[in-house]
Symmetry: C2
Subunit: 226 residues, 2 copies
């Protein structure tokens, strides 16, 4: 039996039944990019119908739609496909994960830490991204705290993701610039950067409203005392 | 060379240089329990000096003091002691982790996911527990959101902790009742239960204040319109 040689690191990783990807990088990112562009286009246009939303609100809605779609579809597909690396169906998701595994073979080898984080990300945080959009559009009073919660979960997951890789000496990553710096560092770093900004924004909103109530309660007390 | 036989699961786990613990379970839990009782006693008494704190506030402060001390000292000691299982110093922390590793040998084998979660827990969440106490005592407007953040981090970490164990078939745990159900499930389950209650409480506080401001703003608007 001739076993297909896989392209992943570490080079001695065993992946019985591995079937090489057939899609080019351009094809995979073409679909990924087009799908995300469509999500942004739809979110931007639909959110424009709500006149109370600022331009920044609408940009934030686009982000939640994009990250929710990635969590639920792309990462969800990984969680439910333990054998994507042996897939012969040439579907977009298997091909995408075969490609990404070059940046982190723990996806192909089904590292339990990766699977746990991705399961929470896909099936808890993913749907909540769309609840956030609903909350922003309808001005629900939980809109700040829910954004804070999901963004904090994203940052926590990404820190554990990078932390475990660091502790294992990045041995699961192809050291090439494309795979290590672009796929592994930059693409994941987005989930520290943007959720980090949302954490700051919603933290400030929370502190401002609690402070406002404290002030107005004190004012009421002062007035009563007079 | 005669290698000491370790008591951990899986039985074929290799731990070169393992030195058996010398403290009895009663000694370890005696110190642990006494230390926590002291932390509660001090927190309860000191918090009693602040008349604006309710009994429930003071209980919550005791919890943050206890969990903060466990995170920073007990879990912090693990993070900075990669070779505790080979320790011959008979110190409390090494003996404690030698004992707990019976419930989860990933502590002894230094599983990168455990180390990453514990590093965040010990050195980010740990100190923040004491910032929370300061915020509660001085009624800082960030007291709700900071409690929410740390409690959510605790729940997230514990879910990944249990999730990874489940995915590996709990093979790192001694299946005995004491080790599996009391150490592993019950002791860790506390960090889902109590932070879960704090998440609900601080979520409600956040939603209430945002809703309150929305209502009072609307009232102001209505009054102006008349």
């Amino acid at each position: 039996m001739t076993e297909q040689q896989h392209p992943y690191y570490p080079r001695d990783l065993e992946l019985p039944g591995f079937v090489p990807g057939t899609w080019s990088r351009a094809e995979i990112f073409g679909i990924f990019g087009t799908a995300l562009a469509l999500v942004v286009l739809i979110s931007w246009n639909l959110s424009g119908k709500f006149k109370h939303l600022t331009q920044l609100d609408r940009r934030i809605i686009c982000w939640w739609a994009v990250t929710g779609a990635i969590h639920f579809l792309q990462e969800g597909a990984f969680v439910v496909s333990p054998k994507f690396y042996a897939s012969t169906t040439n579907d977009y998701f298997s091909e995408g994960w075969k490609e990404y595994s070059k940046a982190d073979s723990r996806y192909a080898s089904r590292d339990p830490c990766i699977v746990s984080i991705e399961a929470v990300t896909a099936f808890v945080e993913g749907p909540l991204c769309f609840v956030i959009i609903y909350a922003l559009v309808t001005l629900k009073p939980y809109r700040h705290i829910l954004q804070f919660a999901v963004a904090l979960g994203q940052v926590y997951g990404t820190i554990i993701y990078f932390g475990t890789s660091y502790l294992e000496g990045f041995k699961h990553s192809d050291p090439g610039f494309l795979y290590f710096w672009l796929y592994f560092v930059a693409m994941n770093g987005i989930w520290i950067l943007i959720p980090g900004l949302i954490i700051i924004r919603t933290w400030n909103a929370s502190v401002a409203v609690v402070g406002h109530i404290a002030t107005s309660t004190n004012e009421t007390k002062s007035k009563k005392r007079r």
